[in-house]
C-alpha cells in the first residue's frame, strides 16, 4: 500500500505541471497580445508599467522561453498581479482559499451525512413511503439549480423566518478574530471566542446545506443502490442469525460493505462542490475563491483567472489522491493485493 501511495505522490508534480502548462497555454491563446493577459487596459498607457511587465514575464522572448520564465515565477509563488485588486494573485488566492475550503468541507460533511442517511433509509424501507420520500428529497437536491435553491432558502430561513443569519461568514457588526488558519470556525475557537464560533457555524449552515444538498442526491442514490444489493447478500442473514440487532446489521455489516463506492463518490463529488462553490459564494457573499473567480471573470482579470485555475486544479488533484488512498485503505482486497 505504501508503494501505491508513493507512486501516486511521485506522479503529483507532473500532474500539477500539466495544469500549469494548460493555464500557461490559456494565456497565450486567449488574446492576440499576451500583454493583455498581464497588464490591465488602464496600465497599457503607462510605458513604465508595460516595460516592467514585459521584463518580468519575458514577453519579448520566444514561447518556450516564456514558458520557463512562467514556471520559474510560479515556483517562487509569483502568479502575477490582479488587475482588480492590484495585489499579487497568489496572495489574493491564498487569502480566499480557506473560506472556500471551509464551505466545501462543511458542504461535503452535510452532503455525505444526509446522502448516506437517506440512502440507507430508502434501501432499508424499500418501496415504502419512507423510501419514496427519501428519494424525492434527494431528487430535489440534484435537480434544482444551486442558485435557485440558495436564493429560496435564504429567503425562507433568513428573510421570512429569521431562523438563520443572512449572507456572509460572520455577523457584520462582530469584530473579526485574528486570522490564523483562515477557517472562521477554527480561528474563532483559537481566539477563545465561543460566541463568535457559534455565529460562524450558524452562518455556515445555509450555504453548506445548499451546496451539500446537491451532492446528497447523488450520494444517496448510490448508497441506496449499493445497500439494496448488500442487504440481499447472505452474510446479512448470517449477521441476523448471530443475534445482531437491526441497527448493527444495517450499519456495521451492510453499510460498511458499501463504504468503498461511497467514499469514491464522496471524493469525486469534491470537483462538483468546487464548481458549485462559485455560485454559492456569490449568493451568500462568501469571500472565497469562487466569488473571486466570478469577479475576475467579469473584469477579464486574466492573472486572477489563471491563478484560480491553477490553485483549484491542485486542490482537485489532492482530493482525488486522498480519495484513492481512502479507497485502498477501505478495501481489504486491494490493500492486500
Amino acid at each position: 500500500m505504501t508503494r501505491y501511495i508513493l507512486r501516486r505522490l511521485i506522479a503529483m508534480p507532473f500532474l500539477v505541471l500539466g495544469i500549469v502548462t494548460l493555464a500557461f497555454l490559456l494565456t497565450t491563446v486567449t488574446k492576440g497580445d499576451p500583454l493583455a493577459a498581464i497588464v490591465s487596459d488602464r496600465q497599457m498607457n503607462d510605458p513604465e508599467a508595460v516595460a516592467a511587465a514585459k521584463a518580468r514575464w519575458g514577453l519579448d522572448r520566444s514561447l518556450p522561453e516564456r514558458y520557463v520564465i512562467y514556471v520559474r515565477n510560479l515556483l517562487t509563488g509569483d502568479m502575477g498581479t490582479s488587475f482588480i485588486t492590484r495585489r499579487p494573485v497568489a496572495q489574493d488566492v491564498l487569502f480566499r482559499l480557506p473560506a472556500t475550503m471551509e464551505l466545501v468541507i462543511a458542504a461535503m460533511l452535510v452532503g455525505s451525512t444526509i446522502g448516506i442517511a437517506l440512502g440507507v433509509l430508502a434501501a432499508y424501507f424499500r418501496n415504502t413511503p419512507t423510501d419514496h420520500l427519501a428519494r424525492f428529497f434527494a431528487l430535489i437536491g440534484s435537480s434544482v439549480p444551486v442558485f435557485w435553491l440558495g436564493l429560496a432558502l435564504l429567503y425562507v430561513f433568513s428573510v421570512k423566518l429569521g431562523i438563520l443569519p443572512g449572507p456572509g461568514r460572520l455577523d457584520p457588526r462582530a469584530a473579526l478574530p485574528p486570522r490564523i488558519t483562515g477557517f472562521m470556525t477554527i480561528d474563532t475557537l483559537l481566539a477563545g471566542n465561543v460566541k463568535l464560533f457559534i455565529d460562524a457555524v450558524w452562518h455556515l449552515i445555509l450555504p453548506a446545506f445548499v451546496l451539500g444538498w446537491a451532492v446528497a442526491g447523488t450520494i444517496s442514490r448510490l448508497v441506496r443502490a449499493n445497500m439494496l444489493e448488500v442487504l440481499d447478500r447472505e452474510f446479512i442473514l448470517t449477521a441476523r442469525s448471530k443475534g445482531a440487532g437491526e441497527f448493527r446489521v444495517v450499519i456495521r455489516h451492510a453499510l460498511r460493505n458499501t463504504l468503498v463506492p461511497t467514499l469514491t463518490v464522496i471524493g469525486y463529488s469534491f470537483a462538483y462542490l468546487l464548481t458549485g462553490a462559485v455560485l454559492t459564494e456569490t449568493i451568500f457573499s462568501w469571500p472565497g475563491m469562487g466569488s473571486y473567480a466570478v469577479d475576475a471573470a467579469r473584469g477579464l482579470d486574466f492573472p486572477a483567472i489563471i491563478g484560480v485555475t491553477i490553485v483549484g486544479g491542485i486542490v482537485f488533484l489532492v482530493t482525488n489522491l486522498l480519495t484513492d488512498v481512502a479507497y485502498v485503505i477501505a478495501n481489504p482486497r486491494v490493500r492486500l493485493g
Binding site: 442469525s241 445482531a244 460493505n257
Partner: protein, 328 residues
Amino acid sequence: MRQEPLFSVQDLRVSFGRHGHQFEAVRGINLHVDHGEVLGIVGESGSGKSVGMLAALGLQAKTAQVRGSAKFRGRELVGMPRRELRTLRGSRIGMIFQDPLSSLNPVMTVGAQIAETILLHNSAVSKKAALDRAVELLALVAISQPDRRIHQFPHEFSGGMRQRVMIAMAVANDPDLLIADEPTTALDVTVQAQIMDVLGDLKKRLNLGLILITHDLGVLAGHADRVAVVYSGEVVEQAGIDDLFERPSHPYTRGLIASIPDMSEEKDRLFSIEGAPPPLGRLPGGCAFHPRCPQVQPICRTAAPVLRTYEGHSASCHFADIPAEGAA
C-alpha cells in the same frame, strides 16, 4: 407425560404475497429434535426447507407471514418479540448456510466475525478474551494456525475453510441447537465429507440438537438419526433413518433413494424423479405429488392423503404401508 423436546415445530405455515395473491411456501410442517439428535430435512430445491427453518427463528423475509408454532425449550418463537428472539439466535441456536463464499462478511476479519458473535451475547467478555476464544474455536473446527488465521479476511480462505469458520461462529456460544442449511452443497465431495465429520464431532462434543437440511438423501446416511422428507412445503414422510431406507412408504421418498448416486455400482444413468415440483400457489388438487407419481391412482387426484403414523414412522400417501390410526 413425554418431556418437551428441545425444538419442535407444529403446523408451521409461511406464505408470501398480499392482496389475495398469497401462496404458501410452507404448508404446515411438524418436526422435533432433541439434544444429541440429528434430524435430516430433505427435499428438492424450492420445497420450503430454508423458508420454514428461517421462519421458525423469525428470520423470514419482511413480506412473509408466519403462522403455527415453533417451540424452543418450551418457549414459543413465532410472535416472540424481536429483542427476545435475538438473545436466542447465535447464542442458544446457531445457524450455518449453504454458500460459505457469501455467508461471511467480506470486509471483516474472520476473528472479528467470530468474536462479534461472542460479544453480542456476553457483555462481560472483553474483546481480547473474545478473540482468544475465536482462536480456540478455529482450532476446534480443525483450522491450522488459528492465531494467525483470525486476522485474515474471508477471501483468504477456501470454500471448505470458510464453512469451518461459519461452523465455529455458529457454535461460539455453545448452543443447544444447530441448524445447518445445506452446509455441504456448495463444496466438492472430499470437502463435504470433512465438513460432515466436523459437524458430527461437534454434535457429540457439545451434545447439540442438529438439524441438517439437504436435497441429497445420501448426505444423511450415516449422519442423521431421523429424516423428514419435504415435498412442496409439506412433510410427506418422517422416520428413523434405517427405517426410512428399509421401508420407504412414500413414492417420493423411494424416488429420492433411487436417485442417490451409487459409488459401488456403475450405473449408466442416474435415476431422477420425473417432472418438476409444481409452482407454488398452483398446487394440483388431491395429493400434491400425484402429477409426478409413478403409482398414481384415481383417488390421488381428488383426495389429499392424511398423515398416518405407526411406530414413529409417518407418511402421507393413500397407499403407504402404514396402518390407519387406531389399527395399531
